[in-house]
Symmetry: C2
Amino acid sequence: MILLDGKTTSSDIKDEITLEVLQLKKEGKKTPHLAAVIVGNNGASRTYVGAKVKACNRVGFLSTLIELTDDTTEASLLSKIDELNNNIEIDGFIVQLPLPKHIDEQKVLMAVDPKKDVDGFHPTNVGKMALNLPTFISATPYGILELLERYKVETSGKHVVVIGRSHIVGSPMSILLSQKRTVGNATVTITHSRTRNLKEITLQADIVIAALGIPEFLTEDMVKANVTVIDVGITRVEDTTKKSGYRLLGDVAFDEVSKKAAYITPVPGGVGPMTIAMLLKNTLLASKNNN
Amino acid sequence: MILLDGKTTSSDIKDEITLEVLQLKKEGKKTPHLAAVIVGNNGASRTYVGAKVKACNRVGFLSTLIELTDDTTEASLLSKIDELNNNIEIDGFIVQLPLPKHIDEQKVLMAVDPKKDVDGFHPTNVGKMALNLPTFISATPYGILELLERYKVETSGKHVVVIGRSHIVGSPMSILLSQKRTVGNATVTITHSRTRNLKEITLQADIVIAALGIPEFLTEDMVKANVTVIDVGITRVEDTTKKSGYRLLGDVAFDEVSKKAAYITPVPGGVGPMTIAMLLKNTLLASKNNN
């Protein structure tokens, strides 16, 4: 069994980006600049955004953190986005989700200029992804493609089973892996809560992507030998034996499934760390397009 | 076996649209107006566009046919599109494909205002479709959804196998049928030229959508009893016994597969006639949005 180590891989990617940034600077080109907008005081969101800013610093990007209070109106957030769209110093920006309930998330995502949408959430970028045109692929699917590529996991002609149909992971993953691309050309089955004979289907899979958000859902009896398993889930479960009072569980019963798997991502340290690296890659691309 | 009769169904839809147009006129609202741009002298393209214009007349839409010569430059086509984007009389328009080789098709499709893109080919509309947001769904996938809905073919929890991954049919079909929607909630497998064990997969299907463009590819040994079969293929095959010198074949060996099927589309007269009806539905929607 080979561990698909997202921590090491994302660190490698960050090192590669650091070198690219040094090269850009040497050529007198602009330093990539990411902005992040956060509305309100959600603790998890603050942690995520903080990690993104820190990652920018590490690779030599400029970063701008825009913190808005909980009572920010939709109109004032939209006007801030408009400002970022028009600020030529900013190459790309993200609006950290979730937003407070009085703000229409879809409306906000639609307001981001697709050229600066390094999260890849704007319909125009989702459409380009679906049409296999150059675009910003959103961080989680992009990170999974990158992990599979760097570990040389063959996907062409393989049967991939995706569990979960979210717009963030399951749906784009199923689209990408079926396309003609380096990591692609797979036969892909997308399954979800309405799927009747899930186990019968996962047992056929060469690669399983578990992205449904139910801790330890995928058990060893559901996969065949030498399967590759990508675990996108990450759920906090109470654990009084831990100092923090909780531990993190993926959607895969790691201990038992890992015994059968050829390749498997751990949780934490698998897909999670890849997402920030891919956000940086998208920002670098935005910056090059903006040079 | 029940025939999914696209000819009758599309005729029903046209009748419904005719009534809606009469109602719109009665309310003093604008008459839906579709424009079609055709470049060059491709015989098949002229036939298709002609049928679209005729269908507009039948339901009481206004239509404008813009015929450009083979040597039209990309720039002049783009300027024509710009004109249509800004013409408030026109609710929606299509650019008939294929375009002459000196014109970049993707660039042209990207130039169409998504609000007037009744073909649903613009990345913004493809993205909205993938995100299950209201949009123009392109005619062939939309027509298949409509056929399944009108014949009350259950899709929820069923296993759909799509053969072919084109951006026009296979890919959007696989996305749409897996979504939470009236005709949807299916477990969907997308297969293509790189799929290794196709027969093993199609034998599991409750619904097969054949969209690969190989005449009579799907044979009776590849499907289980009581399958529903949607045949998107339409290929001209030489036939000296016919006055025209050819006959039209689908991707399904109809004579043998129909004996096993619960529901099946004929070719011609299945999916084909639905596409124009759905283009009219999209134009009606564009007109309502423009009212």
